[in-house]
Symmetry: C2
Subunit: 189 residues, 2 copies
């Protein structure tokens, strides 16, 4: 998606070779007009697939998912990073390693909000090693819900997550797919 | 706002006298159509005030803020709950006690995204003891930004946060203001 690629070139900041900061428009400050364009693009790509719910993970995915959900006219469910190990109630759970913060987060969704009849679109801001997205796929599987595909804003194509998840048969639509960020210069596929 | 009050009566679950669960439409599963109506209502209430940015706090505030921001045609900034104590870079910080999870969260915003020229609308899903909202007001003050007001989805009017924050001169517009939840029966002001 050219608009997102141009925005990344203009406002993205490459740090230390593998970190891409997009916090001025995507995951700290948020340009909702850009998010609307992204939502429309995923709606075009997944048209006719009968998506009835969007599943994302807190925190950066939530805004992107909500605005996409307006275009799809479906509800959003966001998986929560549990801060206590003693969550009460009936939840699906998965452990997701965090590369940003280190350690492992327990990620949960209430069983009431993921159903075997669901046709889910998974949404997230980044796809790199794929841990968060695999966590969402696992939660969907626990519920017996169908995963129609994943809508990713930015895929780091030089990291293995996208390839591994596509190899499982999951359709992944990344709106900007980065080939390399060497010497601070961002190249897209 | 009648639509939100009716939704709370219909789908809200009172637990243990003081907990109101609205996770089927507001802060776990999200009804984006309801969020659109809420955004329009805050836009009506704060019309002509020159709001140029919405400030919220992760995670539940983000979806509400993003959809409101579409109506206001402004960007969102969300304050982050720091998971590491050694955040790098130039941030405003405040400590916010968490009544849901216990303990204290360090909440941060990059200095690049809060400016002395900003006219902020603060958005959050709940106002009860007021800790999160006071944290946002503190972050705005550190930046020298003006706080035009706070848009709250649900205020627990029987807890002291709303009164304390209004006493500071901050305009608080809560779309549903609960007077009592005794015996599971929800009464609004």
């Amino acid at each position: 998606m050219l608009e997102l690629e141009e925005r990344i070139r203009r406002n993205g900041i490459v740090e230390g070779g593998e970190v891409l900061k997009v916090d001025s428009f995507l995951n700290h400050q948020i340009d909702v007009t850009l998010l609307e364009a992204m939502g429309r693009e995923w709606a075009r790509l997944f048209a006719g697939e009968g998506v009835n719910k969007i599943l994302t993970i807190e925190a950066s995915g939530i805004g992107i998912a909500c605005i996409a959900a307006q275009v799809f006219e479906v509800p959003v469910v966001f998986a929560k990073k549990s801060r206590t190990k003693n969550i009460a109630g009936d939840v699906y759970k998965v452990e997701v390693p965090s590369f940003t913060h280190g350690g492992v987060s327990e990620v949960i969704v209430s069983k009431r909000f993921l159903l075997p009849t669901d046709r889910l679109l998974l949404i997230d801001d980044f796809l790199a090693n794929g841990a968060a997205l695999e966590g969402l796929i696992d939660l969907a599987a626990q519920a017996g819900a169908a995963v129609i595909g994943a809508g990713i804003a930015i895929e780091k194509g030089f990291q293995p997550g996208g390839e591994r998840i596509r190899a499982k048969g999951v359709r992944v639509e990344s709106l900007a797919r980065i080939k390399s960020m060497e010497a601070g210069k961002i190249e897209f596929f």
